[in-house]
């Protein structure tokens, strides 16, 4: 069997996001097992391990599942990711962190075992600015943009990029940290109210999201000028604010909603068969879809690995090669019943970061639905690439890593 552990969190402060993500992840593999008999005829086992978003439990989970022949890890936590980067490199197991984790891991020359395509936080920051440029006819000169962020490694990731972009496009950036968990954001929002920034970008997670949306509504901040990263754009985040949340925007690197053909199969093979993961009420939601996206990419990478290795029983090293050789095309997505669900990309030895595009979705409070208002927007690679190179070089130097792929 193929073992893909699911380091999930269904408890603790971030359970609200962790639950649907883990469900989406599990359900897709269940679908593969039930419908196709696994990947390439090998069944996939998804042993779940609860981390509660806690690094120590993450380590325990990693050690506990590693012995079972784990092929790839996806812990959905930037903290745990940093923890595991050195460990997976030593143990030779792939770490796949779509849309989170250490951004500079996109540089495959330094991070052999880590992949974070299709997009990372710096991509996200850049896409958001690109979108705003479009809205403002190509110039943000003299505009004020505030970044409201989770005061942790995760929230701090985009700062460097945004500072670079501010220099390039001539807007001023103000940074407003919010301590976890973020139930109390009065100060920050009063400041927003006083400073009247043109736009607010938001890097939050957990309860911080819903409070921020609520507070924005309270101070009557125009919601369509408030843009969250993809982890701040789920139904959970906007529903509590009711109508006030109408018009709030968020990034996403995968499609949302239950309209994809794959859901017919999921219903047939998984939900109706009583094999759904969790309570089964989150299918089609934003975070569920993202969990499913991760599962899709992992299964495709395994398929690729099987193809390369010529055997369905691949090991961890072969799976890594699969990740490195992975190419997701629009056609393949359509085959999977997920047309337009994600951006096409192709990984290489040096590029573990993918195309980096993301879409903008907007909340419709009346219909209680997210709808996509743009297609994939490309990030500004000219700004990002040097940053990635610089950060990964520092890591390489600190850890005596010689660059690969030369």
């Amino acid at each position: 069997d193929l073992v893909v552990p699911n380091l999930s969190y269904r408890t603790g402060p971030f359970a609200a996001g962790g639950i649907p993500y883990a469900d989406g992840f599990n359900d897709y593999f269940t679908l593969l097992n039930e419908r196709d008999g696994g990947i390439g005829g090998e069944k996939v086992q998804v042993p779940e391990c609860e981390t509660a978003y806690n690094t120590e439990k993450g380590v325990e989970c990693y050690e506990a599942t590693k012995g079972q022949g784990a092929l790839v890890y996806n812990p959905l936590s930037t903290g745990i990711t940093y923890q595991l980067i050195p460990k997976v490199s030593a143990d030779g197991i792939t770490l796949y962190t779509p849309g989170y984790g250490r951004t500079s891991a996109a540089n495959g020359k330094v991070f052999e075992w880590v992949f974070n395509y299709p997009a990372n936080y710096w991509d996200g920051a850049s896409v958001a600015i690109k979108y705003l440029l479009d809205e403002n006819g190509g110039s943000l000169e003299g505009k004020k943009i505030a970044l409201l962020y989770h005061n942790s490694a995760y929230g701090k990731e985009p700062i460097r990029t945004l500072q670079e972009l501010a220099k390039k496009h001539g807007f001023t950036l103000s940074e407003l940290p919010i301590d976890s968990p973020g139930q109390e954001q009065k100060s920050q929002w009063l400041q927003v109210r006083r400073d009247k920034p043109d736009y607010v970008l938001f890097w939050g997670w957990g309860v911080m999201n819903s409070v921020a949306v609520q507070e924005a509504a309270n101070i009557r901040f125009p919601m369509d000028k408030f843009i969250g990263i993809w982890w701040s754009g789920s139904e959970n985040d906007v529903l509590p604010a009711g109508d006030g949340a109408n018009g709030y925007k968020a990034l996403t690197f995968n499609g949302v909603g239950g309209d994809y053909p794959v859901y017919a199969d999921l219903k047939k093979y998984v939900f109706d068969a009583g094999k759904g993961s969790g309570a089964g009420d989150s299918a089609g939601s934003v975070i569920y879809s993202r969990g499913m996206y991760a599962a899709v990419v992992i299964s495709e990478a395994i398929r690729k690995a099987q193809e390369l290795a010529g055997t369905p029983k691949v090991n961890a090293a072969q799976v890594r090669d699969g990740f490195e050789a992975l190419e997701i095309t629009d056609a393949r997505l359509e085959e999977l019943g997920l047309k337009g669900f994600g951006q096409a990309f192709k990984a290489t030895c040096a590029d573990h970061g993918g195309a980096g595009g993301a879409m903008i979705q907007q909340w419709d409070a009346a219909a209680k639905k997210w709808s996509l208002i743009t297609g994939f927007i490309e990030p500004d690679h000219d700004v990002l690439d040097p940053l990635v190179a610089e950060d990964s070089a520092a890591f390489a130097a600190e850890n005596n890593i010689a660059e690969r792929c030369n």
Binding site: E48, T55, N400
Partner: protein, 358 residues
């Protein structure tokens, strides 16, 4: 009679103040040493080392440290997480600034730095007592975490504020970094624990320990008897922080390998270590070990039973695990408010009388 103390007559005061005055205990102690240093490191795998033993050893150090402050000197502190962070960041700065420095020196220096910080935050204890002090130490906890999160110098200006331990070797074997073998991690921490526990035992049985305990039991009477509360409390803060700093340094460098301050050294850590000390037994070195073992092992055990054994969904298991841990804490307190150490003592007293009821 399983437990004999007959036949042990002391002829000198030195004998009488031995740690294990009873021969049976002494033999058991040597047996544990042989097991801990001679056998375990060579049979354990990565899982046991990383999920159970290494955290146990490190938490035991932290628990001894906190026990010195809270159990022996009576100053309840909730700043343990913050002080561990000081140890961790001091160790990180030392490791990166002086790559040639041997790891044990780094760890010890980190402990000393923490001791200094501990004394600073211990100053209010001269005025503030009891739970007021406990809450006041939270100021240290939150401030330190904020500081390490905010000032880039501490994390060497890395993009996200994470710190990662580079590889360092000792006698040619890696002790930090990803390629460290399980046994090396274990032994490195075990040696620290052994030496520190021995020192703690010495400190607590002599003059210093008596001063601490006097302050704990009745600070006014102690002062009237001639104990200087200033130096006594501050020395407890210093020694305790030294231990906790070392624990923090090991926690970051040897166990986790990378850390984010709010996550690894948050307030939860302070509480966790306080639990260990209380569950284990305030004012008992053995209790610190017992408490650390209990709280490291219990969740792992429960998880393996509930998820691995009974096959429950992880979330349900996690919730039930919370309930069980909570209930067990209460049950233990009801059975024996003075902790596992006292439970053990009572059991011994019973065994000593066995087969008679009293």
């Amino acid at each position: 009679m399983f437990y004999r103390e007959a036949g042990d007559f002391k002829t000198s005061y030195v004998d009488d103040s031995q740690t294990f005055p009873i021969r049976f205990d002494r033999m058991r102690y040597y047996a544990v040493l042989v097991l801990g240093f001679g056998i375990l490191p060579f049979v354990m795998n990565d899982y046991w080392a990383n999920a159970v033993f290494v955290p146990f050893l490190i938490y035991a150090i932290a628990a001894i440290g906190l026990n010195i402050l809270t159990g022996y000197c009576g100053q309840v502190s909730l700043g343990t997480g913050g002080f561990m962070a000081v140890g961790a960041y001091a160790c990180y700065k030392l490791m990166t600034a002086f790559p040639w420095m041997p790891m044990p020196v780094n760890v010890l220096l980190a402990g000393l730095v923490t001791a200094g910080v501990g004394v600073l935050f211990g100053l209010p204890s001269l005025r503030i007592k009891g739970f007021y002090l406990a809450v006041a130490t939270l100021a240290a906890q939150f401030f330190l975490v904020w500081l390490f999160n905010k000032v880039p110098w501490f994390y060497n200006y890395s993009a996200s504020g994470q710190i990662t331990a580079p590889e360092r070797t000792l006698l040619g074997v890696a002790v930090t970094g990803a390629s460290t073998p399980a046994w090396a991690k274990y032994l490195f921490c075990a040696v620290f624990l052994f030496v520190l526990a021995w020192l703690a035992r010495n400190l607590t049985r002599g003059t210093v320990g008596r001063k601490w305990m006097a302050i704990r039991d009745m600070d006014i009477a102690a002062e009237i008897i001639g104990v200087n509360p200033l130096t006594t409390k501050l020395s407890a803060f210093a020694v305790s922080s030294f231990y906790i700093g070392i624990a923090g340094a090991l926690f970051f460098a040897v166990y986790l390998g990378a850390a984010e301050v709010g996550e690894a050294f948050g307030i939860q850590k302070s509480f966790l270590i306080l639990f260990m000390v209380i569950i284990g037994g305030l004012g008992s070195i053995f209790g610190s070990f017992a408490g650390a073992a209990f709280l490291v092992l219990l969740p792992v055990l429960l998880k393996n039973v509930l998820v691995g054994g009974l096959g429950w969904p992880t979330d349900l298991a996690a919730h039930i695990e919370l309930m069980i841990v909570g209930a067990l804490i209460i049950v233990f307190l009801i059975l024996e408010p003075h902790g596992l150490a006292q439970l053990w003592r009572v059991a011994k007293e019973k065994l000593r009388l066995w087969p008679f009821p009293h």
